[in-house]
Symmetry: C2
Subunit: 319 residues, 2 copies
Amino acid sequence: MAVYTEVTDDALAAFLADYDIGELIAFRGIAEGVENSNYALRTEAGDFILTLYEKRVDPADLPWFLGLMEHLARHGLSCPLPVRARDGVALRRLAGRHAAVTTFLPGVWPRRVRVEHCAPVGAALARLHLAGAGYGAERANALGPASWAPLLARIGDGADSVRAGLGAELTAALGRLLATWPASLPRGHIHADLFPDNVFFLGGEVSGLIDFYFAATDLFAYDVAICLNAWCFEADGACNVTKARALLRGYQQIRPLAEAERAALPVLAQGAAMRFLLTRLYDWLNTPADALVVRKNPLEYLRRLRFHLDATSEAAYGL
Amino acid sequence: MAVYTEVTDDALAAFLADYDIGELIAFRGIAEGVENSNYALRTEAGDFILTLYEKRVDPADLPWFLGLMEHLARHGLSCPLPVRARDGVALRRLAGRHAAVTTFLPGVWPRRVRVEHCAPVGAALARLHLAGAGYGAERANALGPASWAPLLARIGDGADSVRAGLGAELTAALGRLLATWPASLPRGHIHADLFPDNVFFLGGEVSGLIDFYFAATDLFAYDVAICLNAWCFEADGACNVTKARALLRGYQQIRPLAEAERAALPVLAQGAAMRFLLTRLYDWLNTPADALVVRKNPLEYLRRLRFHLDATSEAAYGL
């Protein structure tokens, strides 16, 4: 749930006065997104999203995120385009927060993933990877492999409070996957969080990708592995190989995976499962029960991790 | 915070197929409203709000609410107009809930009430009262004076757990106000919950009134008294007489209050403060701490109640 920061009408009017987007027509909080406060904003110039960046986003990263979105949009990807104010600056301040206005994207995110969603989302991810070429600055992946052992250490005994034996299981799995983590696969700018609520569809096609606030410079195939975890498992934790095959085929129609990338899919998928398992576990243990945030069950990712640990080749994903 | 019920794309597509409003273009949860789930819905025909009615609304009342909104909109009030599906029926089912599509209203609700808001909201309330004439069916006010003693009894000792002595103070105040409650003032259909988040403004004028799910048939001046409580007190609990005067003058420009209505304002305002104090107190004591609902501080209304108990005439409100 979103909207952590309320914006007074006076503050909003003063903020919008710096833009060339006409008079305010409507302004409603959006109940989506878990990191930032988002508002649907309508002015005489059309529809926009106003985002106030809350404390989980490092302000130092915001110019990179907004620059990436602008680069991707200019290179043909349907993603939010940051709107610059009259002084040419897109990143501004509002209600004590960093804030930006971006364009509104049509579409609906799939509440229930069907096989038919998977090829389009794979293709959209590949287009994102290609469109990012030429955006020069790099951003290290703060939630990449180097972060997992320290995060597991911070969780400490908390893991076993969620499930007996979980700490030891994660320690063993992490040691194994880090030992075989690929060093030299193709890399570039990745979304790193392309879950269903970040992908809008319209008429069966992807109409837009949103929420680039985990984007980073890392292995393309790791981004694919994140999508396999996010899109290709059923509610009971079972892998749906039909979905995985569709997602990978959709991706490869735009950007074929190298043999080394395909071979690394099991370990990359283990890493992706580990990343979401650890951050959810940390949040589970550290979010006050009365916070206005839905805590996501970390154990959904334990089932995925075990599946990937058993996978011996890309055949596990239908290739 | 809203959006308690998730709607799958399949269910939404099937639901919209019954309407003549074109293809789906966008669908976003709205983080406003505390009783129901609301979505901003865009189709080829324009913008709409989709509401799923959650358990606090009695389904038996929904036809009355939707009929009132349709009547008010047809009589010139800017309020959501229920959109009928092809079969002529506006009240439908979606995702296991009763559901309705209404028109989208432009405007922004005032996060911080200024004096300039008060005359327009008073006038809008009077227009609502006049526009409701001719809507034949009545709905008893389930949260009217007859409900307050039973509600206080259900709260019981809980009152003193919030503040020592509160139970006795409320019992005394309730006895006093019920003894002088006016029996025969002008009545009709009232909004009964016209707080700032239910009033949209655009360019300094009221552009729309929303959320009619507490509407009922009751004293017009009681609705005015609810607005005095909702719009004319500062964050520290002090009455802002300038705001009260502006609200009452705005109201009277459209519908002059009878002498008996003006004289009854103190007791009606006591009742309005009692109503919100009691429901907030009940919710405060009965809402699980981890619910995704913002519990509103009941004691804000204790300060208002005391102010109204001290008021000896309408002069307390600037008349």
